[in-house]
Symmetry: C2
Subunit: 214 residues, 2 copies
């Protein structure tokens, strides 16, 4: 099977917002409470941060467990990696995720500003000034035959949609209204030329949108 | 994580029938056309028999791909293995699946009639005269830390439900009426004491029932 580029568990509000306004060190998602966006994942048996047994094994868990199934690398935008803008003032910032990031693969961070690679536990972060297609080529090489996950944020996913590089995409619409911020789309109908799609709502009230290349 | 016993992609008709009447060499599912029961799987990108690219990546595919995710062994009843009844007349019969069975793990066939183990490609079939709990113990040992799939048929799943050994179960209800045969249940409500559950219908018209231990 060929390697796919997949978006997994990308969460947006009912009004389509994936990142709030005013990202900072204290507020990775800006004015949005990240707890609102990811609560459904935290309840699932397969949640990537779960260390204890238990959790639900219903529909939400099917999406939760897909997060790392057959993933060999991740690509993310710089704003997912951190709140800094412009040239790196130093290299102290190593992401939001502490000493054991939940990726466990090479991660390629898209940025116009060079920075040396570094490793935390079993995740190595590389920094690339590259087009989406170039970044995907690098990530596929690193993924050792497995798929590549596109981690976001909003602007990065939109760039990859525009470059027609995404093979499969899962967007979870959570039942909160946030009013302002970066919108993934005005309407998912905007991308039906590129993708087949299916929509299903789980018992938690989350609506799961699945897209795959026509 | 502990090892789970999971039922995956067990298909029943709208009226709850998992196996028709009159199983024979020519009719593995008796009077039911197996094509009716498994059509939804054949359309998915992750179908275990798919050799070409393509296929859907919607909700049905989430269930299709779970069939072998983290599975290290299967337990099945004798009637899933073959149409023979009583003592083995010979050992020529090696299952319905040809030279490369879709299991790729040890398979434990429950039967009161002894028979030596044999291997086809990367699947080894063992024959056990054992209680459900004993069989599960053997399968977990063989599964190398992974989960065990309970493959059916109907009578076998019912035995394991009664012995309270199943941790998670996915039953696909396909939109056909067959009228007679072995019923998995009169109603899924019969097992809500044991399991939490969630039900969702996919675009193909298949209704997916998910159960997990309370």
């Amino acid at each position: 099977m060929s390697q796919l580029l997949r978006v997994q568990c990308f969460n947006v509000s009912q009004d389509g917002v994936g990142a709030g306004e005013g990202q900072s060190l204290e507020q990775p998602f800006g004015h949005i409470d990240p707890g609102d966006l990811v609560a459904w994942l935290g309840d699932t048996a397969s949640f990537v941060y779960r260390t204890e047994p238990g959790g639900t094994r219903g529909l939400d868990d099917h999406f939760s467990r897909d997060f790392d199934r057959n993933i060999g690398a991740e690509i993310m935008g710089r704003n997912k990696f951190g709140p800094q803008r412009g040239p790196w003032e130093d290299h102290e910032w190593q992401g939001w995720w502490g000493d054991t990031p939940p990726f466990h693969t090479p991660v390629f961070v898209l940025t116009h500003h060079e920075r040396p690679s570094f490793t935390l536990a079993d995740t190595t972060f590389h920094f690339l000034d590259a087009t989406p297609a170039e970044a995907l080529g690098r990530a596929k090489q690193a993924a050792d035959g497995k798929d590549v996950r596109l981690g976001g944020g909003v602007a990065t996913i939109r760039e990859f949609i525009e470059a027609d590089l995404i093979d499969a995409m899962h967007v979870a619409v959570v039942p909160v209204i946030v009013g302002r911020g970066e919108r993934l789309w005005e309407s998912p109908v905007d991308i039906t030329d590129q993708f087949e799609s299916e929509v299903v709502t789980s018992a938690s009230g989350v609506t799961h949108h699945m897209f795959w290349r026509r």
